[in-house]
Symmetry: C2
Subunit: 248 residues, 2 copies
């Protein structure tokens, strides 16, 4: 480490500051959602679009795995895929998200078809998968560190949904309950890895920029959602229209 | 299915014929190995180079996973990665291959460093990983179907090694014993998938060509091994030299 490389503690503080300034807990859509201000259709739009993000996370993690030459690192990272895909039918985070979809009156087959997802959501999420597949390992890992900021938003969300929405119960919000224990395990590993491997100023900049990129991926999804379904509520051609994809 | 598309049974027979004509059980290096004709250094060269192939298989399977949108298909395919990487330190196919490496007197750290691997081995194996990452799903799956032909070669190898080589015992050859039960599970799934999805003549040609490609990947590795360490025994610059990487 040369004299121009901020130490581990300063670098970790820099990463946290990115969350303070840019994480999507600050987005107006989340304020609306967690305070009970969303209409049922706005909640449905969120569930449909956020599903696309969830559904691509195991693909993103597999893309990362495909670049890892160390079996021990692969084994550790593999847990993320297991958390989302589960160990058998009816388990895993993606299944739990579809329980939420049913809870808000959506047909889970419609949601999992990814029809009606906003194009801007797809573009942002696909950019994330591509980033993790193609960029160097350090930014690829660093981009996962938004999990550092996730427990707070999950707690706020669980409390807000339970307080304000009839659909919310231990079954429909079990996705978030599970993430409360899963995410900290994932991020503890990822953070150590990034702190260990970002040993030059250039490394630290690359890792910080990757984390910024990831906050942009999350923020852009909520901007698109807000634009389409809150204000100006201009739904792009082909995207989900209220009334579509409902449980029969 | 149109009248020009051979039926499922004929197509399956076409795939088996590719194995009959091209699978690397017919390569002279395997005849030498299984009949006890290899010197200890030729066995070591095989263990070092084949390790590189083993080590890339989970990366290949992760590259495939990263393209799969169906959680159930991902879950099923994930077992291949688990088989190779294991569930904790000291388990999995890669670990078992390193036990074989120790059994033939090689330092497992040397072997797992992939130093000394023949460039032609790397080129062939890396071409396989790239193929599965970039080609359409049907050829990507079809390229795994060399597993159809693997049980016979594993049985021949287990018998041949136990009969002819002092290093061979249940510990050192446990990799092959495990593959006897793992490979048929994998290939039963892959074969069904290919037979279900190759519904046009063009599909069937693409799948058959993918399987041919994979047999070429395997054959090329043995040609390179033979050239370097059997005849003309011309070891390329930088590749493993007898005496290197031995257990202290």
């Amino acid at each position: 480490m040369n004299s121009f490389t901020p130490d581990r503690t300063s670098f970790e503080a820099r990463l946290h500051k990115i969350g303070d300034e840019r994480y999507h807990d600050k987005h107006p859509f989340h304020h609306l959602l967690h305070s009970g201000g969303c209409t049922p259709d706005q909640v449905r739009a969120w569930v449909i679009n956020r599903y696309y993000y969830q559904s691509r996370i195991p693909m993103k993690d597999a893309a990362f795995l495909s670049r890892v030459t160390d079996p021990a690192l692969r084994r550790s990272w593999r847990r993320r895929i297991e958390d989302h895909d589960g160990t058998e039918d009816g388990t895993g985070g993606i299944h739990r998200w579809l329980r939420l979809a049913e809870g808000v009156g959506l047909d889970p087959d419609y949601v999992s078809s990814a029809r009606g997802v906003l194009p801007a959501t797809r573009f942002a999420v696909d950019a994330y998968v591509r980033f993790v597949r193609d960029e160097p390992m350090l930014p690829a890992v660093a981009s996962s560190l938004t999990e550092l900021f996730a427990p707070k938003i999950h707690k706020d969300r669980i409390a807000g949904l339970l307080e304000h929405y009839e659909f919310a119960n231990s079954d429909t919000i079990s996705y978030f309950q599970h993430r409360l224990s899963e995410a900290p395990k994932d991020v503890a590993f990822g953070l150590e890895w990034v702190l260990d491997h970002a040993v030059t100023k250039a490394d630290q900049d690359a890792a910080a920029n990757a984390l910024i990129f990831k906050t942009e991926v999350l923020w852009a999804q909520l901007d698109a959602l807000y634009s389409a379904y809150v204000s100006p509520a201009r739904i792009p051609p082909g995207a989900w229209q209220p009334g579509e994809g409902l449980l029969q």
